[in-house]
């Protein structure tokens, strides 16, 4: 059976684990490393390894949801991870020092994958920091030369995550129907 994947990426704390949890049919597998393995952050269950969840489709197909580790040292895994992927969900934390820098870093890291598939961007924690605005992100993206969906997303809210994934799928093909 084919392996279909949707990849969730973004910096630590952006909401990848939470987002996968929101739409997965199985309790997500969190493969977080132990606290001793964590570098500077004090957060006890932030992603340093992979998240994994499944969406079961009618007819028995499964969509595998993978969350990438936020750390740059996992660079080498990203290529393996994206093989067979149908698209990328990039989550950005609006309270971070420079979310545009984060965006550029991840778009750059996944450039090849994005060119072959598509990307949809979710900006989280906008309830904590209302700036930059979604329009500001679009202005940045203009400079980069891509025009993907950018939504405010609360990773804890299933409808937000679901709409973001839908926008990714419709970007791949607007004619698909519910």
């Amino acid at each position: 059976m084919s392996q279909y994947k949707i990849i969730f990426t973004g910096p630590v704390g952006a909401g990848k684990t939470t987002a996968i949890e929101s739409i997965s049919d199985i309790p997500p597998v969190k493969t977080d490393a132990s606290a001793s393995d964590m570098t500077k952050t004090k957060k006890s269950s932030t992603t340093v390894a992979m998240d994994y969840g499944i969406m079961n489709l009618t007819g028995g197909e499964k969509i595998h949801l993978y969350g990438t580790p936020g750390q740059e040292r996992f660079d080498f895994m990203w290529d393996i991870l994206t093989t067979g992927g149908i698209g990328l969900i990039l989550l950005l934390d609006n309270t971070r020092a420079d979310p545009f820098q984060d965006m550029k870093f991840f778009l750059d890291s996944f450039q090849k994958f994005i060119a072959e598939t598509n990307v949809a961007i979710g900006v989280t924690q906008m309830d904590l920091s209302n700036k930059p605005t979604i329009d500001d992100y679009h202005i940045q993206l203009q400079g980069i030369g891509i025009n993907p969906p950018v939504f405010s997303v609360d990773a804890r809210v299933k409808n937000d995550v679901s709409l973001l994934v839908q926008s990714l799928l419709y970007s791949l093909d607007p004619e698909i129907e519910a």
Binding site: Q125, N130, K158, N159, Q166, S171, E175, E177, A178
Partner: protein, 405 residues
């Protein structure tokens, strides 16, 4: 000892970007032990200004001229303005608390002279709490840790952060409505299926938004209906009305009687009820989006030519908008290439009313453009890339839609 019953001083922040702003909120709440809390400008007792910001000079001049609030200026340089309390950057807790206590003293003198109530207590409380706080300069890491625990004013603006409401075809008529005697879905009536936003409340709201944004000034739009307040700095609108009431007013054609009653006035000091009713804040875009949808009732703006392709500048922020039927598909199609409105309906095999209502809402947000030059129309839109995985994508969408909770 710190007096827990004492409420914090209300301060407004100026000349700071989002990030600095948030940092300051945390700083006052954390290291400064809640001696002051950041509130909306209009409800503040004290102004804190970043005097090194680009707009600092104008800000200071304006604040000195128009308000009697004590001002605390943060700067890298030594400042010696009269009537301004100065705190040197990088800001230290002791300095900040001292400036706040000075400001509180000014306030209490003012209060005393106005109502003879001795509120000197406030002042003492701060001075006392000061001694409890260890001298720390490098407070930033602990501040960052607290980010997610605090409830900010922003979080209390619940309508702004509510997830999207999705309308399916069945809900269209009851929620969006139609114009009696007009069948917008009949191609023969397409040319008549237009509306002019300027004839409705929508047009007045849009003009008011433009003025408020140009002047960077809080403005109130008064009409025969409810006052609508525009906060251009945060892209917010405040209105005390539910969707049903707004929907009803949206469809009223403005006439000779109602128009003279419409005025736009600057707001210098809003009532505190506004500041308390945080859930009545709407994001400008979400508000305008639904107002346009309800004004359109399935028609499209008369400024658009139905025979010319339209393009979508970028995806709307769908998670915070009312999602009309097939809106995501229409957006995806238009991002790929420009299309005429009937083409969109044809390709997606949907009723034109769903296209028109989406276009009206996106047009109100400035997201829709139309090729003006003939040259733009010469190129045939690319055939849609039919995904080999269409069946699979269908099933995922089906699953996600089923899962709506």
């Amino acid at each position: 000892m710190k007096d827990k019953s004492k409420s914090p001083l209300k301060v407004a922040l100026h000349g700071m970007d989002g990030r600095t702003n948030k940092m300051m909120v945390m700083y006052l709440q954390g290291p400064c032990k809640g001696a002051a809390a950041v509130v909306e400008d209009l409800n503040a007792e004290i102004d804190i200004i970043d005097a090194d910001s680009l707009e600092a000079k104008t800000l200071l001049e304006r604040k000195l001229a128009e308000s009697a609030k004590p001002i605390i200026a943060l700067s890298l340089q030594e400042l010696t303005f009269e009537n301004i309390l100065y705190v040197k950057k990088p800001v230290k807790v002791d300095d900040m608390l001292f400036a706040l206590s000075e400001a509180a003293a000014i306030l209490s003198v003012k209060k005393r002279s106005s109502n003879h109530v001795n509120s000197n207590m406030e002042n003492t409380a701060i001075r006392q709490s000061q001694s409890l706080i260890p001298k720390t300069e490098n407070v930033l890491p602990s501040v960052k840790d607290q980010v997610k625990k605090l409830t900010t004013d922003e979080q209390k603006k619940t309508s702004k952060h509510q997830t999207a409401m999705q309308l399916d075809e069945g809900k269209f008529n009851s929620y969006i409505g139609s114009i009696p005697g007009l069948d917008v879905n009949d191609p023969k009536q397409f040319t008549a299926a237009t509306y002019n936003p300027k004839q409705y409340f929508q047009g007045y709201v849009q003009s008011a938004l433009m003025v408020a944004e140009a002047k960077k000034q809080v403005m109130c739009l008064n009409s025969s209906w409810k006052p609508l307040i525009i906060f251009p700095h945060n892209y917010e609108i405040w209105l005390d009305a539910d969707d049903k009431q707004l929907r009803a007013f949206a469809s009223v054609v403005m006439n000779k009687i109602s128009v003279p009653a419409i005025t736009l006035t600057p707001v210098e000091s809003a009532t505190s009820s506004i500041q308390k009713d945080l859930e009545k804040f709407h994001s400008k875009d979400a508000f305008l989006w639904k107002l346009a949808a309800w004004t359109s009732k399935g028609r499209y703006p008369d400024a658009l030519d139905i025979h010319r392709p339209v393009f979508l500048k970028h995806w709307p922020n769908f998670t915070r908008l009312v999602i009309t039927p097939h809106a995501l598909r229409i957006a995806a199609l238009l991002i790929a290439s420009p299309r005429t409105l009937p083409e969109i309906a044809d390709i997606l095999k949907i009723k034109p009313q769903y296209v028109f209502v989406f276009i009206s809402a996106a047009y109100a947000l400035g997201l829709i453009g139309q090729a003006k030059r003939k040259a733009d129309e010469i190129i045939q839109p690319s055939a849609i890339k039919k995904s080999e995985q269409q069946g699979l994508l269908n099933r995922i969408i089906g699953k996600l839609s089923l899962n709506k909770s």
